[in-house]
Amino acid sequence: MTARLHVDVAVIGAGPGGLAAARAAAEGGARVVCLDLFAAAGGQYHMQPTQPESRFAQTPQVLSGRDAARAARSAGVEILTRTEVFWVAGTEDGGYCLSACQAGAEALSIRATTLVVASGAMERPLPFPGWTLPGVIGAGAAQRLLKTGTGALPVPGKAVLAGSGPFLMAVAQTFAKAGQPLAHFVEYRRPNPRATARLLARHLRKLAEAFGLLRDLRRSGAERHFGHIVTRALGKDRLEAVEIAPIDASGRPDPARVQRIEGVGTLAIGYGFQPVTDVTAALGADHGFDPALGGWHCIVDPATGASSRPGLYAAGEVSGIGGASPARLSGRIAGSHAAAAALGRAAPDAAIVAPLAAELAAARGFARGLAALYPPLPDLPLDLAPDEVLCRCEDVTLAEVRAAVADGARETFAVKMWTRAGMGPCQGRICGAAIAAELRRAGTRPEAAGFNRPHLPLRPTPLPVVRAALAAERGST
């Protein structure tokens, strides 16, 4: 039996942006459902621990997430967790129909007049020699392991945290709070105290947070290597050692000064985030490419959160990586407008929304400043072996991708056709950045290379669930 819902506003994602949007829409008088694939609302930022005695149970991030979910529910929002939206389509009356899989087995079909997509961000994996060895994980995944479950990394051995960007310090802070030893912290960029001070001087509210991050990085006990990069992960069947090297003036690692770290159990690696745009892209909204915003993102009007498609709104990281503050503010704006549009009202009260827009501009300004301090790396300055796997779903190697490019593949889609890179379960989410980097080497700009447009289903979904949800949708038209 397929569950069916009919709402004014559907919100995809219950992170900071989604919860803010759902609450604002409900406060605007709309009937609202908010969907999230995790077991508890909060998203990555407010990640809720799964054990009550967790060291993170009382942290501000966890408590504020719980408060945000509670406030949304009090406003009348129905939050459905463990609910994975596998398809969204426009309906003939200009609304949206969402097809979802609940708890991995149950079909759910939702009709909504307007839709807010706050599906957040995912780590942007960049391949480096040895990146597919078991034991190499994303920095975000490491943080999730520490915050949920037993709060410890699952394998013995040293932990190394490497990559670039402010999020790396947040993960080091999580190590410190979890009491999990962190052996090495490897950041590609060198500190730039003067520029950092200038940025913080413009955003004084961020000062305490910044000092906290620095304090906890020291507290983690990690040996800190600024201006270094992991050049290789080594091991027979799983990770055993990591090699790091300092970055020279040309931005490349100095091969003469490679240092090997032995006895490594976990290498958590993070080179930033990319927006999760599968829903907005599947619906055909306009997307743009900006490295400072994480690459491809849904273009929205910051004053309303509206995308190029009527009735479709986007909030938070989907509209460009910026962190929790812009997510919350853009969520409130998008939720208010989505509710007004769904209820056929004029735009929401300018007295409420206009100050939010100003705050959002300031928060986005800070995010821009941070992105300038840690310019995202379009690819890693490392030479991969030809047999290094780029697409992990379909086992496509670098050599195969290069051969396809040499044969005339000039866009992501063409590489996918000829190599199968991006045809597996991740649908190009994991290998997309690596393929784009390879095309860039061959002279195709990322804007021209494009991205793999998502199709039904957005995630692999059991046939009976697909059938049940789509049959329900069909029955309602």
């Binding site: 044969d407 199709h455 009976p464 697909v466 789509l470």
Partner: protein, 392 residues
């Protein structure tokens, strides 16, 4: 990439399997063609194809041409070391309704009379050649020589081979005008404003061919039709061994169709259409999604035939646009503008015919002997673009 040439002997417009096969045959005939593709090679109809290579249930008038077409694919696989996953999997035509048994028997009898190796199977025999086929079929046809190829890799092989033999190919090079003077084609103009002069231009752009012909004031009776397919996540090898298709009285795809097969990558590809819906002409220029009704029908048919697959996961879906002609055959041959040629009208099964049509076109344009005379005569009769009357 090198710059567009100013002149060419022959320009082929369209870099799908038909255009690339035509380019290969022209290059083999020494005509050094230039291929211009609006987007990526093989990225439209070709890439969305299930690339079945077989003559079974495609009709008797075209049977000899189809057999020759299949043989050309087999030979290409042998000559190239088979980089495109050519596999003679065999084809099962399932019959669910007792009233359709006679139609299956007719197909088998008539094809056998022409030398085919096909036969009827009982349900028990069918589940021997396809162990998971345990659904309520009443009988089946079996054509053991039907093959499949990987549609992407086969197109890529044609492209590479054509270029090795002197063709030059340019992707992301849409054509915006055909230059005609004194009722003769003089060349083409690209979207970036460049001109290529040529004595011959072949329009092989699938469902976009009619739009191109209109640039030379030639009306072609080709209309786009939306077709679609679903793919599961990878399954173990030999989950499915054959190409599974529905037996239909009329053959082809007009009365609806089902095709199910496992790709070499392990994904199960499947589709079922019981009632084709109208496709607006502009649909082919949009990015379309599979309709929910199609998904429901396709899943129902897959699980009816293969109950053991009930818990597999759907991985992806895609839409392609076929070029449909009034009699469901290709239009291949000269158009009323001297030097302008057409090779389009796949009607949903162009992959199989591509190499044969390429040879035919190269023979017509270059004058060489590319196919046996009897087949050239047959193709001239069946594929003549003027068979529907004046097309200009």
């Amino acid at each position: 990439m090198s710059a567009l040439p100013r002149t060419a002997e022959v320009i082929v417009v369209g870099g799908g399997v038909v255009g690339l096969a035509t380019a290969l045959a022209l290059a083999e005939a020494g005509l050094a063609p230039v291929v211009v593709e609006a987007k990526s090679f093989g990225g439209a109809v070709t890439g969305g194809s299930l690339a079945g290579i077989g003559a079974h249930m495609h009709g008797l008038p075209e049977y000899d041409l189809m057999r020759a077409a299949c043989g050309l694919w087999r030979d290409l696989a042998t000559d190239t070391g088979n980089p495109f996953e050519y596999r003679a999997q065999g084809q099962i035509g399932f019959i669910l309704d007792p009233r359709d048994v006679a139609s299956g028997e007719t197909w088998v009898r008539e094809e056998r009379a022409l030398g085919a190796d096909c036969r009827m199977l009982t349900p028990a025999e069918a589940s021997e050649v396809e162990p998971l086929l345990t659904g309520p079929i009443v009988a089946a046809t079996f054509a053991p020589d039907t093959a499949t190829v990987n549609p992407f890799l086969a197109a890529r092989t044609l492209l590479r081979r054509a270029c090795e033999k002197g063709a030059r190919a340019f992707e992301h090079t849409p054509i915006t005008a055909l230059t005609v003077e004194d009722d003769r084609i003089r060349g083409v103009q690209t979207a970036s404003g460049e001109r290529i002069a040529a004595a011959h231009v072949v329009l092989a752009a699938g469902p976009w061919t009619a739009n191109l012909a209109a640039m030379a004031n030639v009306a072609l009776p080709l209309v786009p039709r939306q077709a679609q397919c679903l793919a599961s996540v990878r399954q173990p090898p030999d989950t499915l061994r054959r190409v599974i298709s529905a037996v239909e009285d009329a053959g082809g795809v007009n009365s609806g169709y089902t095709q199910i097969q496992q790709a070499q990558s392990g994904q199960i590809l499947f589709n079922t259409v019981t009632a084709p819906t109208a496709t607006p002409p502009e649909a082919k220029d949009q990015i379309r999604e599979v309709p929910p009704g199609f998904v429901v029908e396709s899943i129902d048919m897959l699980l009816r035939l293969f109950p053991a697959l009930a818990q597999i996961e759907l991985l992806r879906s895609w839409v392609r646009f076929e070029a449909v002609s009034p009699d469901h055959r290709f239009l291949a041959g000269p158009l009323p503008v001297a030097g302008l040629w057409v090779c389009a009208g796949d009607n949903g099964s162009g992959y199989c015919r591509a190499l044969m049509l390429g040879r035919y076109m190269a023979g017509r344009i270059g004058g060489g002997a590319s196919l046996p005379d009897a087949l050239i005569e047959q193709a001239g009769r069946l594929y003549d673009p003027a068979r529907f009357g004046e097309v200009a």
